[in-house]
C-alpha cells in the first residue's frame, strides 16, 4: 500500500515536471498557451506618421 502510494507520487511528480518543462520550452520558443492581451499603448506608427507629415 505504502509502496504503491510512493510510486504514484513519483509518477505524478514526474508527469508534472514533464508538462512544466514542455510548457517552458514552448514558451521560450515563442509558442504560448495563454496569450496575454497587449497593454494599451499609443500608436507609434500614428505618431511617426504625424511627425513626418506635419514636419
Amino acid at each position: 500500500m505504502i509502496r504503491k502510494t510512493i510510486l504514484e507520487m513519483i509518477s505524478l511528480l514526474l508527469l508534472a515536471f514533464c508538462i512544466a518543462m514542455l510548457h517552458h520550452s514552448l514558451s521560450s520558443s515563442g509558442i504560448t498557451i495563454f496569450k496575454k492581451r497587449p497593454a494599451a499603448q499609443p500608436s507609434t506608427t500614428f505618431m511617426n506618421g504625424g511627425a513626418a507629415h506635419g514636419g
Binding site: S11, L12, L13, A16, I19, A20, H23, I33
Partner: protein, 168 residues
C-alpha cells in the same frame, strides 16, 4: 472499508469526502491555471518570501503551478485521487511553513495563492494568519479525502464498474 461503487447507502463521511474532493481539486485546478497564465508574477511573489535560492525559485515558478493543476485535475476526475489528495495536503503543509516563516520575520507579502485571480476577483491574497487557517482547512479536507476509499464520482470507479459488468 472499501465502498462498492454500486452501493446505494453511501455513508455521510464518504459523501463529505466526495464534496471535499471537488472543492479542494477545483481550488487547486483554478489557482494552478491562474499561476500558469502569469508565471512572472508568481516568481516575483516567491522572491518576496526570501526563503529559497534564486535557481530554485525560478524552477518552482515554472513547476509548482503545473503540479497544482495536475493534482487538482486528478482529485476532481478521480484518477489516483487518494495519492493526489495526500500530495495536496503536503503542498498545503509547505505553504503553511512558508507563510509562517514570513510572518515570523515580519515581512508583509502577498501569499500568491490565487495568482492572477486575486486581482481579477478581489480574493484575499495576503500571507497572514487567515491564509494559514485557509491552508489548514484545505489540508484537513485533503486528509479526509485521502482516508476515504469511496469510488463515487471517480474515473477509477467508472472503470471498476465497467469491468464488473463485463465479468457478469
Amino acid at each position: 472499508m472499501v465502498v462498492s461503487p454500486d452501493s446505494a447507502g453511501v455513508p455521510i463521511a464518504h459523501r463529505l469526502a466526495v464534496l471535499f474532493r471537488f472543492v479542494v481539486g477545483g481550488i487547486f485546478l483554478i489557482s494552478g491555471l491562474a499561476k500558469i497564465a502569469d508565471p512572472v508574477r508568481f516568481l516575483l511573489t516567491l522572491r518576496e518570501f526570501q526563503l529559497l535560492p534564486g535557481t530554485l525559485e525560478s524552477f518552482l515558478a515554472v513547476y509548482l503551478p503545473w503540479l497544482e493543476f495536475l493534482l487538482g485535475l486528478c482529485v476532481v476526475l478521480g484518477v489516483l485521487h487518494r495519492t493526489a489528495s495526500l500530495m495536496i495536503a503536503g503542498l498545503n503543509g509547505f505553504f503553511i511553513i512558508a507563510i509562517g516563516s514570513v510572518m515570523a520575520r515580519g515581512i508583509v507579502v502577498d501569499c500568491g495563492c490565487f495568482g492572477l485571480l486575486a486581482d481579477v476577483l478581489h480574493l484575499p491574497d495576503l500571507a497572514d494568519g487567515k491564509a494559514i487557517i485557509r491552508n489548514l482547512v484545505l489540508m484537513g479536507m485533503c486528509l479526509h479525502a485521502f482516508r476515504s476509499e469511496a469510488l463515487t464520482w471517480t474515473v477509477e470507479g467508472y472503470i471498476a464498474r465497467s469491468r464488473h459488468r463485463e465479468r457478469s
